[in-house]
């Protein structure tokens, strides 16, 4: 032991010794530390007086804080009665009011307006576009994808499930029509398109043929497909079976029943041969093995208020696929609607990148995070190299 212990001069050790050379100096704790300790004790008491902290069942006090008069924390702008003492819920009330004030002018207007009118009002529709984003992401994106890009299931665990779970909403191909009112109606009441299964009506060969024909129509348009000798058998099946009843003689779908346009390149489910055969064989919403296509009724579920539904309709319309009002009247006639649909935009991006995070938040996150970590690192290094680089003191 010894030299070490005397090295720092006058301070003795306690005189106890363990394991040959373990000892402890009788140094006083630093002054700042003792002060800190006292201050901490005071701090604890003051904090407990300010915030609710006393777990004792004294009438009216134990959640509201022990509350020495004048010390317990009160809500800003209120008198010092015990009802106004701080609580987490009261904090919420105040924070929420702040928001309500910003929203109120907009919300008040939205209440009595039609979706079309909202869409026409630039200021309001901007508000709606903003508030629709999280609403859509939380309620709709699960099926329609973020920003309505659709959710394509890879069918990894079941071939049957390969395909889009719900229609893509950011293109201009619409099952039920793309004007603001049709969209609004869909969200208000939900949709459940129905296609009958054909496995018992058509032979396997016929299903194969008609599937190839449908694919050909999508690839080259109906006219080209009709002239295609290779799919002539399919064309015959299509014309003679009940397909035209729902998809129309021109195969461009009918908005009234939500049947798909079969002549564009946009696939509601899945455009592979197996996928198309699957749809034709088992149908849609028609029992065993059928494709399931249920757009929930958000009004009935009570999940969304009428205003929120209006917001969503406008929001969806603004994805870019919404049909302009001028065309809206014509939408009822499939022919015109379909014209719009043949120029459907292809959907390629599956993963939408999150919009760049607002600069100031990245900035602050980076600043605080890195500053914290680097001060830690510096802290560590400064101890490592303090005096180590300069001449040591004390010891010989």
């Amino acid at each position: 032991m010894s030299e070490n212990h005397k090295a720092s001069g006058e301070v003795p050790t306690t005189g106890h010794l363990w394991d040959d050379d373990l000892a402890d100096f009788v140094n006083q704790p630093p002054k700042w530390w003792m002060l800190g300790l006292t201050a901490s004790g005071i701090w604890v008491v003051v904090y407990w007086l300010m915030y609710p902290a006393v777990p004792v069942a004294m009438a009216g006090t134990f959640f509201k804080g022990f509350g020495l008069p004048g010390l317990s924390l009160h809500l800003p702008g209120t008198d010092a009665s015990s009802d106004n003492k701080w609580s987490a819920i009261k904090e919420l009330t105040i924070d929420t009011q702040e928001l309500e004030e910003v929203r109120k002018p907009f919300e008040d207007k939205l209440k009595d307006m039609t979706p079309a009118a909202i869409l026409a009002d630039a200021n309001l529709s901007e508000y709606v576009a903003r508030s629709g984003k999280v609403l859509f992401s939380d309620n709709c994106a699960g099926c329609h994808g973020q920003n309505g890009v659709g959710t394509f299931q890879t069918g990894k665990f079941s071939q049957r499930e390969q395909g889009y779970m719900a229609p893509v909403l950011n293109d201009d191909d619409w099952l039920y029509g793309g004007d603001i009112n049709a969209i609004h109606e869909t969200i208000v009441g939900g949709r459940q398109g129905m296609m009958t299964p054909h496995k018992d009506v058509l032979s396997e060969q016929q299903i194969d043929d008609v599937a190839k024909y449908v694919i050909a129509m999508s690839a080259e348009g109906k006219d080209a497909a009709d002239k295609d000798a290779a799919v002539a058998a399919g064309q015959k099946v299509f014309a003679e079976s009940d397909c035209t009843a729902c998809h129309g003689a021109d195969a461009k779908g009918m908005a009234a029943m939500g049947s798909a346009n079969l002549t564009d390149k946009v696939w509601r489910f899945d455009g592979s041969l197996a996928g198309v055969k699957q749809t034709i064989s088992y149908g849609v919403n028609a029992g065993d093995n059928a494709r399931v296509a249920v757009m929930p009724n958000f009004t009935a579920a009570g999940k969304l208020s009428p205003t929120e539904i209006k917001k969503l309709a406008v929001y969806v319309h603004k994805f870019g696929g919404g049909v302009a009002e001028a065309v809206a009247d014509a939408v009822a006639t499939p022919a015109v609607a379909a014209d719009a649909a043949t120029v459907a935009k292809p959907v390629d991006a599956q993963v939408v990148q999150a919009p760049p995070v607002k600069f100031d938040y990245v900035f602050w996150a980076l600043m605080i995070g890195t500053a914290g970590a680097f001060s830690a690192l510096l802290f560590a290094l400064s101890f490592l190299f303090k005096n180590a680089l300069t001449k040591k003191k004390g010891e010989a």
């Binding site: 003795p12 050790t13 306690t14 005189g15 106890h16 009788v26 777990p55 004792v56 069942a57 134990f62 959640f63 509201k64 609580s87 987490a88 819920i89 009261k90 904090e91 919420l92 009330t93 924070d95 929420t96 928001l99 999280v134 939380d138 309620n139 994106a141 699960g142 099926c143 994808g145 973020q146 959710t151 394509f152 299931q153 890879t154 990894k156 665990f157 499930e161 779970m165 399931v292 249920v294 929930p296 579920a301 999940k303 599956q350 993963v351 939408v352 999150a354």
Partner: protein
């Protein structure tokens, strides 16, 4: 050596350091205090949703905006006073009820798969959580949750009010392959839940155990012998996937919250 018997702290401290027994007792006392102060009152003070299992509570009560006491059977379902008398008749809004057999089985799967490590079930009273997830959670809502599942990390979103948000079909697809429906998701694929049947025996035993809990047991009037006996029927041929989905769909819509009422005071 001269310093050896000099005491640099206090006599008592010196005694503590000399005697293993005294040190043991002193540490045992010191470290007991905080826990006792924070934990014990939760078992008897009001507003901690401690029920007697028979419709009575430890004085827990909430007041509406006029200051009138909201009867506890509006918050916690009590078949004796509710117009819906059985678990099957129960409607969202009737008040907190225990889990149905399939939900209970699903809850076991939820715990087994460690879902709580990514999903919280505790909405805090903040405006953003209100906008994102819904009304803040209250103590009664987890009173039947033996092994509470509030979680401490939101790698995924809070699911305290998930019930009814998506269709069963959606959940099935999402759980099987989350990136099919949410490309950005980092959630593992749980398709294997579809390959296993629920453990019927474990679930009925669990129901029996829940009625025997010393604190907040499920009332025997709800998990009655007949109800437990009927459970295997409800669980027949159900997969673990069905069970988890049933559990998820049961979350968060039990209590009908009034706007503006402070449900935590």
């Amino acid at each position: 050596m001269s310093d050896h018997d000099h005491i640099y702290s206090t006599k008592f401290q010196d005694k503590v350091e000399r005697s293993t027994l005294v040190m043991f007792i002193m540490t045992a006392l010191t470290v007991a205090v905080g826990g006792i102060v924070e934990i014990v009152p939760l078992f008897y003070l009001p507003n901690t949703a401690m029920s007697g299992g028979d419709g009575t509570f430890n004085g827990t009560q909430h007041k509406d905006l006029q200051g009138n006491v909201i009867p506890m059977d509006k918050i916690v379902w009590n078949p004796a006073t509710s117009e819906h008398k059985s678990m099957d008749d129960w409607q969202p809004g009737d008040g907190v009820r225990p889990y149905k057999p399939l939900e209970l089985a699903g809850r076991q799967v939820f715990i087994r798969e460690g879902c709580f490590l990514c999903h919280s079930q505790m909405i805090r009273p903040f405006r953003d959580e209100k906008d994102r997830y819904g009304h803040y959670s209250i103590a009664e809502e987890s009173m039947y949750d033996h092994t509470y599942q509030w979680g401490s990390k939101r790698t995924g979103p809070d699911i305290a009010r998930l019930g009814g948000k998506y269709s069963d079909e959606w959940h099935r697809k999402h759980l099987k392959y989350p990136r099919d429906v949410v490309p950005e998701s980092v959630m593992p694929n749980f398709f294997f839940l579809e390959n296993a049947k629920v453990d019927v025996e474990k679930t009925t035993k669990t129901m029996a155990v829940m009625t025997k809990m010393p604190f907040n047991p499920v009332p025997k009037t709800i998990y009655s012998a007949e109800y437990i006996a009927a459970a295997p029927e409800a669980l027949k041929d159900k997969t673990e996937m069905d069970a988890v989905i049933a559990f998820l769909q049961s979350l968060g819509n039990h209590v009908k919250f009034e706007e503006g009422v402070n449900y935590r005071d």
